[in-house]
């Protein structure tokens, strides 16, 4: 089984599905000869030709709208937006059309499409390249929003996203693109899009995260284990629709919960998880639900991005607060 980075796994999922299904196309800026700015589409042009590997003009609204048009015709469009900060021009098309054609036409026209984009910071990229967009999209009805946290999940979830009959926003944590490898076999098997993954089982506290922050969250769980604290780690993976059942079950067991996310704290998806706990988990909680999130500031340029992005220290500090209030 080949050992792949996440970006290679993303590439493999697209190539694999394009081999399987001739009606899958990829489109975006510089995805052809250049293979995409992060090389996610490397080799696809050579294998599938310029008709199915579509270099678009420099216009993100168009890219989203074209994917909509293609998908209404049954062509499965997998669009790439180069950097997360340039996803915003797609918002109108996604919320006003992609998520609505099915409903609007009572099922007559549908949008089985994926918009992939790098997400979050940590790679010292220029301005507007490091934002975390998941909540902006996850608030939209009719959408699926997915963010993988490892090469294997990237492969399986992207396959699922491409096959899904409804629009999916697929946010790939830039920071994890090449951070570590995993054995990934091209089985063509998709992962489910409607459940959280229990990344590791535990009994004392539930740590919930997704995307890039899963990495630091796992490190925290390691640290806690050294101290004899058993953390259950939940990878939300599919943010919308949100599988609260898995999280509630875990919290019912541990009685403690810290949610870790990189996007700005106010109105972030961590708040959605916490709100559900405040409603459905209140009686099983021993301690307040803590959110560790990006600050409510503009994403700083590279020199200060580490100030902004939660890290092991910040997560640990909130975990300690929880155990201070409700000791093990």
């Amino acid at each position: 089984m080949p050992n792949l980075t996440m970006i290679e796994a993303v590439n493999l999922a697209m190539a694999s599905e394009m081999r399987r299904d001739a009606e899958v196309v990829v489109l975006g800026e510089d995805i052809g000869r250049n293979g995409g700015v992060f090389r996610a589409t490397l080799g696809l042009l050579d294998e599938f030709g310029p008709d199915r590997v579509i270099d678009t003009p420099l216009a993100e609204t168009l890219v989203a709208a074209m994917a909509i048009g293609l998908s209404t015709q049954g062509i499965k469009a997998v669009a790439e937006i180069q950097f997360s900060g340039f996803l915003y021009p797609c918002v109108d098309q996604v919320v006003n059309h992609a998520t609505r054609y099915r409903n609007r036409t009572r099922g007559r026209l549908t949008c089985p499409m994926v918009i992939r984009a790098p997400n979050s910071g940590g790679i010292h990229a220029p301005e507007h390249h490091s934002e975390s967009l998941e909540t902006t999209f996850a608030h939209m009805p009719g959408l699926r929003v997915v963010s993988p946290s490892s090469p294997t999940r990237a492969y399986g979830l992207l396959l699922a996203a491409i096959r899904d009959p409804d629009p999916v926003i697929f946010l790939e944590p830039t920071r994890l693109y090449r951070l570590f490898k995993q054995p990934v076999e091209d089985t063509g098997e998709a992962l489910p899009l409607d459940t959280c993954f229990i990344d590791r089982e535990g009994t004392d506290i539930t740590l919930v995260s997704w995307g890039a922050m899963m990495h630091d969250t796992r490190l925290v769980a390691d640290r806690l284990a050294e101290e004899g604290i058993s953390a259950e780690v939940v990878d939300i993976a599919t943010l919308k629709p949100l599988d609260m059942d898995t999280i509630l079950e875990s919290v019912a067991k541990t009685g403690r919960c810290v949610i870790v996310s990189e996007s700005p704290r106010a109105g972030g998806w961590a708040s959605e998880v916490a709100a559900n706990l405040a409603e459905h988990g209140l009686l099983t909680l021993f301690a307040p639900v803590m959110r560790v999130a990006g600050y409510d500031t503009v994403m700083p340029l590279a020199k200060q991005e580490r100030v902004y992005i939660p890290d092991v220290d910040r997560i640990l500090r909130e975990v300690r607060k929880v155990f201070d209030i409700a000791p093990k």
Binding site: A65, M66, I68, T72, I75, R102, N103, R108
Partner: protein, 377 residues
């Protein structure tokens, strides 16, 4: 208004070279009084074909009148009338083939009727019922797009649709239409620009009806014509008298066939006039002179074309009476059918949200279902 670029005297002549030149043309066969400006094309000299255009125009006008009446009596929501612009929809309806895809704005009812949308659907839509966009299987409209209320944002969908046709080697064409105001939106431009990049089989139609709500078209843009906006994407643009159903059909058919033959996209600006308020929620007297409207009635497409048909001996007073009677009856029975539309179940709001409702949303649907109908409308 735009001035063709001229290099001022200060510039030494030899420093400049002309690199490109463009001309914009207008086509018209029928003068406003119905007399001929030029010999009409074949379809307009064939009695049956020529009559069909007129009939659809008048039936649409009668439908439109009924819809406005329903709104005025509180039986319909906000409605966007097509009064004065019927010729364009008729031309579209006759110029497109069944297998083509129509991506309309929100006033081209005639084209939609021609393509098989039952009149009652339009009333249901403006009446606030999603089922009004469920166009019937077995008709060309079944693969058409629904009315688009957000201005211009539907136009780039044409790129994807046309690309799909090209990818599959189909000889089909997309017609995407909008108003003059819509051409100010970036979405519109991104589509026009991209269409030529892939030489896609698309006809962009601009209904220049003189106004975008209260904004006259000459204040919407500094361009002398809307047709020339195609030049920004390297697309041929032309004007047509949109109140001349013959010219409009002729120009559209030509552009559509060019597209079908692989000659790429075109842009057609159809010059017309919105005789009604913008919608029933609008009061145009606030911002436009009554005289302008009165004058525009002289250029009305229905009157004009009727004069042509009569002059050709294709239309009689008896034909007219029969058509009005039938069209009125149909509008009336459509209204009755609309008013009897059974309400949707409340939980229908979840029915087509996703192909399959995610488990996590089931409780919401069940809550709605358990609650039953809610007062309101």
């Amino acid at each position: 208004m735009v001035e063709p670029l001229t290099i001022p005297d200060t510039s030494p002549g030899s420093a400049t070279t002309k690199v490109a030149s463009y001309d914009i043309y207008l086509t018209r066969f029928l003068n406003p009084d119905g007399t001929l400006a030029a010999e009409p094309p074949a379809f307009a000299t064939d009695r049956e074909q020529a009559r069909a255009l007129y009939e659809l125009m008048v039936r649409t006008r009668l439908f439109d009148k009924k819809a406005v009446a329903l709104q005025r009596t509180g039986q319909l929501g906000t409605y966007a009338a097509v009064l004065g612009q019927e010729a364009i929809g008729v031309a579209i309806g006759h110029a497109l083939k069944a297998e083509d895809v129509f991506i309309p704005a929100y006033r081209e009812y005639a084209a939609q009727f021609a393509r098989g949308v039952p009149m009652v659907r339009i009333l249901q839509y403006w009446g606030g019922d999603e089922r009004g966009m469920d166009y019937p299987a077995g008709t060309p409209s079944h693969h058409d797009f629904p009315l688009s209320v957000p201005i211009a944002t539907h136009i780039p969908h044409a790129i994807g649709v046309a690309y799909a046709m090209k990818l599959r080697g189909e000889k089909r064409v997309v017609l995407a239409s909008c108003g003059d105001g819509a051409t100010s939106k970036g979405d519109w431009y991104e589509a026009v620009s991209a269409a030529k990049v892939w030489n896609l089989p698309i006809v962009f139609l601009v209904n220049n009806n003189g106004w975008a709500i209260s904004m006259p078209s000459h204040r919407q843009t500094g361009a002398q014509t809307f047709a020339q906006k195609g030049l920004a994407g390297g697309i041929s643009g032309e004007q047509v008298d949109g109140n001349d159903v013959i010219a409009t059909r002729f120009v559209l058919e030509r552009a559509i066939e060019r597209a079908r033959n692989g000659e790429g996209p075109s842009l057609v600006e159809a010059l017309t006039y919105r005789l009604h308020d913008h919608t029933t929620a609008d009061d145009a007297r606030r911002y436009r002179p009554e005289q302008e409207v009165t004058d525009a009635w002289d250029r009305c497409p229905v009157k004009r074309y009727k004069a042509y048909l009569e002059a050709r001996g294709f239309w009689t007073a008896a034909d007219e009476d029969a058509l009005i009677a039938d069209g009125t009856a149909i509008a009336e029975s459509t209204a009755q059918e609309f008013l009897k539309t059974a309400p949707q179940a409340p939980e229908a709001i979840f029915e087509h949200l996703y192909e399959r409702l995610p488990k996590s949303l089931e409780w919401q649907r069940d809550e709605v279902a358990a609650r039953g109908p809610v007062g309101g409308h």
